[in-house]
Every structure is written in C-alpha cells, then in structure tokens.
C-alpha cells in the first residue's frame, strides 16, 4: 500500500513536469492554428518548418542566430574556461580561494542583473550592440561552467604527467597539447555541452544586450511573437525537435559518465 502510494506520487510529479512538453509534442502533429484544438493528425507544421515557408516570419533566422551564437560562445568559453581552470589549479592558498569565489558569483547572479550590467558596460565601452555584444555576454556567463567542469579533471590527473612530457623533450606548448588537453577532454566536452545549452535557452541576458539592430534569437523571437498575440504554430514542431535533441544529448552524456564510472570501478 505504502509502495503504491509512493509510486503514484512519483508518477504525478513526473506527469506535471513532462505534461507541458508532451502537450506541445502532441499538438505539433495537427494543423490547427489554435493551440489545444485537435483537427486530425498531420505533419504539415513540420514540413512548413523545413520547406522555407517560414522564411518571412524570421523564425528560421532566429534559430540560425541562436545556434551560431551558442556554438561560438560555447567554443570560446571552453577554451577560456580550460585555460582559467589550469591557472586556478596551479595557484595556491588565498589567491585560489578568491579566484574560485569570483568564478562562482556569475553563476548565482540573477540573469537580469547580469544582462543589465553587461548592457551598461557595453554602452560605456562603445561595443557594437548586436551580434558581437550578445556573443561576448554569452561567453561571460558560460565560462564559469566550463571552469567548474574542467577543474575536477585536473584534480584527478597526475600532475607529474605534464612534467613527464617536458622531461621527454616536449616544449611547454607541446606538453599542453599532447598530454594536458587530452586528459582534460572529458571535462571540456561536458563544459562545452553545458555552455551550449546555457547559451541556447538564455533570454534575459540576450534581451538586454542585443541592442536595437533587430537581432532575434529563438527566445526573444518567441517573446515578441507571443506579445503579437498567439504563438506561431510552427514553433510547436521546433520545440519538440529541440527537446528531443537536448534529451538525446543528455542521454549520451549520462551513458558516457556511467561507462567512465564503471571502468574506474573495474580498475579498483
């Protein structure tokens, strides 16, 4: 009885969490312009999405912008974050604690505040509002996550392997490329994926830093779209696809971790 109740409770919570997603996914397979009406199964919205029908609405360009910004931001912050993590790992005592503290603040800082303060900074510095400012902003809030994902890998790594590389004739640069980076790669990949998804779903920071040149990412597009009255129906298949991609990424990510843990357990 008790067990049944526990299962029901869990089921209810999962249902509440996933109901909106399931609702969107289901209604992406019908043609109704109004969300919630079922007018029979159809894949028309999907074909609209890919057939170029939407080119005028700006939806596809918003999607392209989002992906491009996320890709650049994730790449750059992975690079910066990895170097920062190496620096933090090798600094000692007070300085290390201070830098770690400074690294953690942007992650707990409300997005609105990050957004507004970056906006003010960019205006003050005269940075072009638009693509450049949004990418810079995204790099700013993504980098700390990369640092946090690379640091544990540095702790797990035998620090002597770097010295071993030098000892065997590698220049510091070669040792970094051939010995350090390969060992940090799992952390860098995780950091990259995290940074990519953080950038993908950001609204507040993008909203404040995109300026007035009309740059739209997916999140700002939906916001404007919703205010015009009613969501463009083609958003439903788009969201479904994004959800599935993210779900798949997470799945791969978890399986990888599981495998690494198992491999480690076997060795011990």
């Amino acid at each position: 009885m008790k067990k049944l109740f526990a299962r029901l409770y869990l089921g209810l919570i999962l249902l509440m969490l996933y109901a909106p997603l399931i609702f969107i996914a289901v209604s992406s397979f019908t043609e109704s312009r109004v969300l919630g009406n079922w007018t029979g199964f159809s894949t028309k919205l999907y074909s609209n999405l890919f057939s170029g029908e939407m080119s005028n609405s700006g939806l596809m360009s918003a999607v392209n912008n989002t992906l491009l910004i996320a890709l650049i931001a994730a790449l750059v912050s992975t690079l910066l974050g990895t170097l920062a993590a190496i620096g933090i790992f090798h600094s000692r005592g007070r300085r290390k604690n201070v830098v770690m503290f400074l690294n953690n603040i942007p992650m707990v800082n409300p997005d609105v505040i990050t957004g507004v303060s970056l906006f003010l900074l960019f205006v003050f510095l005269g940075v072009t509002q638009g693509y450049v400012s949004v990418v810079l902003a995204h790099i700013t809030f993504c980098t700390p996550y990369v640092v946090l994902n690379v640091l544990p890998k540095l702790h797990q790594m035998n620090p002597k392997t770097y010295e071993a590389a030098l000892d065997l004739g590698a220049t510091p640069g070669q040792a970094l490329r051939k010995v350090l980076i390969p060992q940090l790669m799992p952390g860098m990949v995780t950091g990259f994926i995290l940074a990519f998804t953080m950038s993908l779903d950001d609204f507040a920071v993008t909203f404040f830093t995109r300026g007035t040149v009309g740059l739209e990412t997916l999140s700002t597009f939906i916001y404007t779209d919703a205010r015009k009255g009613g969501l463009t129906p083609e958003l439903r298949p788009l969201m479904t696809i994004i959800f599935i991609v993210v779900f798949a990424l997470l799945l791969i990510f978890n399986i990888r971790q599981e495998r690494a843990a198992k491999k480690k357990a076997l060795l011990k």
Binding site: N158, K160, T161, E163, A164, A165, L166, D167, L168, G169, A170, T171, Q174, K178, V179, P182, Q183, M185, L267
Partner: protein, 465 residues
C-alpha cells in the same frame, strides 16, 4: 673539472618561500655511476633530483651536466630522462605510444621508432604488451613501462624518483635486481632517490645521505654503514647503538662507564665524541669474567635469521644486540666489543648556542621567546648576546602554554641511556635536548630554561662582522 664528472652541483641552495630546502649542496657524479640520494622525507633529496631534471632552478649555486652550465636550461633541452614516482604514464596513450612519445617529438621515422620501442620493451620484459592500455597494467608493469619510456631516449643520465615505493616487498626486490642489471647493460649514469636505506645499500656505487637540506655523507655503501660520520647517518642507516663518549687519548675511548680500545686517532685528549656500535658487532655470552662489561637480558625476539636481544647494564644503559643464539630474558650475560667495531664520530656540537638580545637586565630574547635570566651586570636592553645552554638543562613541557616559547620535535635519537632530541622553536632555530622522557616525533612542546642554566656573554660590536 675532471673529464668523467657528468653532473656537478656547486654550492646549490633552494628556498621554498621562507624555507630553505637545500643548503649549500655540492655534489659531483661520475659518468656511469649508480648514485643514490638517501634521506627521510622532506630532506631535500627530491628537490635535488628536480634541480638536475630542470623542474626547479637553484636560487644559489650552479648545476652543470656534461660540463655545460644548466641553470637556465629548460627540462626538455636537458640530456636526462626521469622515471617518476607513481610512474606518471600518459593515461590516454597505450604502452607503445607512451614509450614512443619522446622519439616522436624528435621527429624520428616510424620504422626507427618501432625498432627502438620493441628493443626497450624486450629489455624490460614487456614484449606483447605494446597495444595495451596503461590503466590495465599492474603496478609492476606500469613501472617497467615508465622505465622503458625514459631509457628509449638514450639519455646520458637516468633519474629515478623513488621508483619502487609503490610496489610490494617481493616485487621491489625483483625490480632492484633488474635495475642493477639494466644499469650495467646501458652503461649510463643512474641517479636514484629513495628513503629506503636497504635499497640504497643494495643498488648503489655511491650513497649520498641527506638530512634537512644538507648532505651528511657521501661514500660507498660499506663506508656509509661501517664509518658513519655522525649520529644521524649512523641512526638512519641500519640499526645502531649510539653513545655519548669521551676520547681519552688516541685509540682509547670511554663510554657506558668503561674504557674501550678503538682504532681511531687524532681526536685529541679528553674530547667529547659520539660512538656508534652496530648490534651485530657486540659479542654476547653467558656471564663470564672474560667479558668487558656485564648486563641482564631484558628481552629476546626471533627475527628469522638472528635474535634481537635487549640488554640492560647495571649503570642504566640499554643495548641492542643481534646474535644467532637465543638468550632468555633475565639471564646474566657478558659482552665484548672489538676495537675495530667501535666507530668514533666528532660531535657536531657539545652545547646549545644561541644569539639573542637582552630585553632588560634580567630577560633575554632567544628562540622567539623571552627567557628570564640571572641579572646581568653591565648589560642593558638591546645588547646583543650569546647564550649557551647544556643539552640536559632544557625542560620540555607537555602543554605548550607552560613553556616560555613553543617548539616541535623534529628528530629523536636514542643514546642507550637517554634521548637526544632536536626541537625546532617558533623562530625555526633548533634547540637540542637530552632527556629521559619519551616524546614522539612532531610533538608540540613548551620550552623552559632555568635562569641559572644560561651562560650569557656579550657579543662585541666589532666582532660581529
């Protein structure tokens, strides 16, 4: 410099922050030699090795390899290769690529690399393992790969940093033999760092004993064992009985209240010295009037080949003796020590000497604390003074708050009827203490000195320079 000296450390000092980890270290290593740097943890042996490898630069002094000054030469440009403690293999590369790492950097051809890697794999008996993941190897196998990875580059010098410390006892013995053979086969110089004295004695042509960043003794294993230059070396290498003694005249030394013949000369007359006698060099027999001195057996423990016997003498000395025959506890025995087996060593110091400053006429500041002393005529606050205190006149207290200043115990030497301690005070200066009490290494203690036990003399301004 002589032709066959390959590594030369010339008055090298190294600081880590405030701490001076190497103090004026000078060392010449001959081409083709197997040299072991031996010492307890924190003695500076690994730092010395890292200076040779280029991972540390000396703050003072010079390091040369093959006659070339190497102070500012980066590790990757030095003709040495290192076998690291805990191996430091590259986990993302397989055995072959680990070993080929250095050769690939040199831009060697694929076929040449293959020949060389296969040759060293054979040498370390790891043929057929080349495609294995290094994580899947046992500790001993990883060790072999680490050695192979270093020697494949044909360095002039192979540096080994406690390479066997992670292996179990049996494996360690086997690897020792293999290392020795490898040294012979390769003909290159080995510099080996270890804290295991047995390993050092077994493997080396030359042993360098270090403590507290200072080289204590350099010599062949037999020299180091039979003729230690001071108490530290005697105590660190093998088992030993160490006594406070007086050199009465040449070839005559007195300790434990008895006079013994010895073979040492040139110490002077009635000079305080230290004497070391190895446990296997004391002859023990049931009580007879032919012995030099008598005692009673306190305990007798079987150690496999020999028995380890503890004997107390009537004068309160405790001796450790090794013999092939058992002696029951409580048995009365007589002992003989032959002149050859008595090793006489000059004392490093015969009392504590500190330089300090008077704070008023009856207080002096030494060791980072303010000690009360007898009123000193003609001395006033600010005067620089020299303070002498005998070893047995220092009181240590359990509770550091009961002491005038605090310190921690860094070294303990048992001297047959008392302990000789090295205590490091708060200002990092050492105070040396003789005591009957049992203390433990790294204990934090309070330090007290009675006013009447301090001998204070003024340091003349002119004499200071």
């Amino acid at each position: 410099m002589s032709e066959d000296i390959i590594i030369s450390l010339d008055h090298v000092s190294k600081w880590f922050g405030e701490k001076r980890v190497l103090k004026d270290v000078s060392l010449n290593i001959k081409r083709g030699e197997f040299v072991t740097i031996l010492g307890p943890s924190g003695c500076g042996k690994t730092t010395t090795l890292r200076i040779i490898a280029g991972f540390e630069t000396p703050d003072e002094g010079n390091i040369s390899i093959g006659g070339n000054l190497m102070n500012d030469v980066q590790p990757h440009k030095r003709p040495v290769n290192t076998v690291f403690q805990r191996y430091a293999l590259f986990p993302h590369l397989n055995v072959f690529d680990n070993i080929a790492f250095g050769l690939k950097l040199k831009g060697m051809s694929r076929s040449e690399i293959e020949t060389r890697v296969m040759r060293v794999l054979k040498m370390v008996s790891m043929t057929d393992y080349e495609w294995r993941n290094v994580d899947s190897l046992s500790g001993g196998q990883q060790q072999r790969v680490a050695i192979a990875r270093a020697i494949v580059n044909q360095p002039a010098v192979l540096l080994l940093d406690e390479p066997l410390s992670a292996l179990d006892h049996k494996m360690r013995k086997d690897m020792q033999i293999e290392l020795k053979q490898m040294h012979k086969q390769l003909g290159i110089t080995f510099v080996y760092v270890t804290h295991d004295q047995e390993e050092a004695l077994t493997l080396s042509d030359t042993v360098v004993v270090m403590n507290n960043g200072v080289i204590q003794q350099i010599g062949s294993p037999t020299d180091i064992y039979n003729e230690p230059v001071n108490c530290f070396v005697a105590d660190f290498i093998g088992e030993s009985n160490i006594f406070n003694a007086t050199m009465i005249e040449d070839r005559k030394v007195s300790f434990m209240g008895h006079e013994f013949e010895c073979v040492d000369e040139g110490f002077g007359e009635n000079v305080p010295v230290d004497v070391v006698v190895r446990p296997e060099d004391i002859y023990i027999m049931p009580k007879t009037d032919k012995g030099q001195f008598d005692g009673v057996v306190a305990s007798c423990i079987f150690k496999g080949v020999h028995y380890e016997i503890t004997v107390n003498t009537p004068d309160g000395y405790e001796l450790m003796i090794q013999d092939y025959n058992p002696f029951e506890a409580g048995m009365e025995v007589s002992m003989i020590i032959k002149p050859n087996d008595i090793q006489v060593m000059r004392k490093e110091r015969i009392c504590n000497t500190f330089e300090g400053e008077m704070t008023d006429e009856s207080h002096v500041e030494i060791l980072g604390g303010e000690f009360e002393c007898l009123p000193q005529e003609g001395l006033s606050a600010g005067d620089k003074v020299r303070v002498e205190v005998d070893f047995d006149k220092v009181d240590l207290t359990d509770d550091k708050r009961d002491g005038t200043c605090e310190g921690d115990i860094r070294f303990i030497l048992y001297k047959a009827d008392h302990y000789h301690l090295h205590v490091r005070a708060v200002n990092r200066e050492y105070i040396y203490v003789d005591t009957q009490d049992v203390w433990e290494d790294r204990d934090i203690v309070g330090i007290n000195i009675r006013p009447e036990d301090m001998r204070i003399t003024r340091i003349e301004e002119g004499a200071q320079a």
